[in-house]
Point group: C2
Chain length 302, copies 2
């Protein structure tokens, strides 16, 4: 029985950066969030793959301790495929192609063993599906965290706002926050997230770190000073997966503990960017993460 | 006798932001840095104004306790004039016009009372002039801080690199650091600054705060979460002026003290963005700054 249920995409990615490229590499929001979460708590993922999904990837996910009962195989089609390229500014990807494939008609099904989980992570899929998964839970989980992405904000803004209303922690990157609330100010966007009933807004800012806003609290975690970013794909999902994984492990929803969770999330997200696909995040140890966590403490001390 | 000598531009600015506009407002790097510095230590500015420079601005600078012996009047011309506009993304200005006027043939002259100052701030003027001012000092100051800007990096890159070599603290914004060292990585750029003999590299990142790099040390200060930025013009100069003003006041060049200086600098820079021209930075108190300084401490605590 997973402690954290994670819904999101499972993908095969083609990624080019100035430092190399990979084809049909393991990717997708549920995959990155799941692997990152598994460093702290047992995740179960909800998603779909096609007939072409390599067994070695399933083995890798299982080896990370991820429950795959909720990972459906649709043999009539191919796995969701994303191709993107990063220029020298590694902060944002150019999408070259998106083939939804089996993801196009996907309706998440929750195995019984998932339905009573206390922690739910809604990765960046169609906001209608995010709400649907939340409804299918046996009881309201203790903590629901949702991510989103620019595509849904452009095409289904009202639904995204509904998700913001329903969840406890609303996670998005700075460009998405600006776009969703039509404001140049991250602070203004965060205030609107809180006004919509989300208890916490966490804005991810890539190399600039992350900021957390709650009622009367503000927390800022800097970016880890990486010199060699190989491939930032999935770092935002790793952030989300670690965040909920750490909170689930400690079972402590206090704001104090959430600050720690944000720093752990930043630590794991930074490691992920140092390798292509899930190469790095699937090979780091608790000790590596703790070391970087302590470094963050030194970075901000004055 | 000023404790800190500040060389830079003295300007009349036309600024438009989505929240208002000003015309022929007091501006320029020496002005912003000087006012900010005056909150901690006595600055003397080196610069030039034309016949059109309003007396009320001279009065304001004098009222801040700024030594104006080094401020030359060239009655044959008009004051340096800059016009810029900010869009909803207040992170970068579009320059509408730059009229150098009396600044075009300016050669900084150092009054005798300035030549033995222990602290020197080289604001973002022509790097040749920055080096010239440094040479004119009676002895090498205890601390030299230099700022630069994209214009000089495009037109006089080698000279800018010479300045980097000569000074103790090299200050620039993230876009300038990337441009100067032709790298997408701020960390890589900072490493190159240190390799060029500058002891400290401080990269200003606007709303994302500032990062400081030294031998074996890294310090990150987040941006202050401002909801209502009115006009960010001069905030980078306020950062620099506060930095050197605080270090001069405490007369403590330790890295530990420089971390504090960066936080004070961020505090003053954030206040500056809350008003047009020098409106806000010239009206804040030591108590305001201290309050924000302590807030920064709470923002990063985990």
């Amino acid at each position: 029985m997973p402690r954290v249920v994670i819904v999101g995409s499972v993908a095969l990615d083609d990624v080019q950066t100035p430092f190399g490229k990979v084809e049909n590499a393991l990717g997708g929001s549920a995959v990155y969030a799941g692997i990152a979460c598994s460093l702290f708590s047992k995740p179960g993922i909800v998603g779909v793959i096609g007939s072409d999904f390599p067994k070695k990837y399933l083995d890798l996910l299982a080896a990370c301790g991820i429950d795959l009962t909720g990972l459906e195989t649709d043999s009539a089609g191919k796995t969701f495929h994303w191709a993107g390229r990063y220029g020298l500014d590694l902060n944002s990807a150019n999408t070259l192609s998106t083939q939804l494939n089996v993801f196009e008609n996907f309706t998440p099904k929750l195995p019984d063993s998932y339905r009573s989980a206390d922690f739910l992570f809604l990765g960046n899929i169609d906001p209608g599906l995010q709400l649907d998964v939340l409804k299918k839970m046996e009881k309201r989980p203790k903590l629901v965290v949702a991510d989103t992405m620019n595509l849904w904000i452009s095409t289904m803004r009202e639904k995204v706002l509904e998700v913001v209303k329903e969840v406890d922690i609303c996670l998005m990157n700075d460009a998405e926050a600006r776009q969703l609330f039509r404001t140049p100010s991250i602070v203004g966007a965060a205030r609107q997230i809180l006004a919509l009933d989300s208890k916490i807004a966490i804005i991810k800012k890539g190399e600039h770190g992350a900021v957390m806003f709650g009622k009367g609290i503000h927390f800022a975690c800097p970016g880890y000073p990486l010199e060699n970013v190989l491939d930032p794909t999935g770092s935002g999902d790793c952030f989300g997966g670690t965040l909920i994984g750490y909170i689930a492990k400690t079972n402590d929803l206090s704001l104090k503990n959430m600050r720690k969770a944000v720093v752990y999330a930043s630590s794991v997200a930074s490691f992920n960017a140092e390798g292509f696909s899930v190469e790095k995040v699937s090979s780091i140890s608790k000790k590596d993460i703790d070391m970087r966590y302590r470094e963050f403490g030194r970075f901000v001390k004055f």
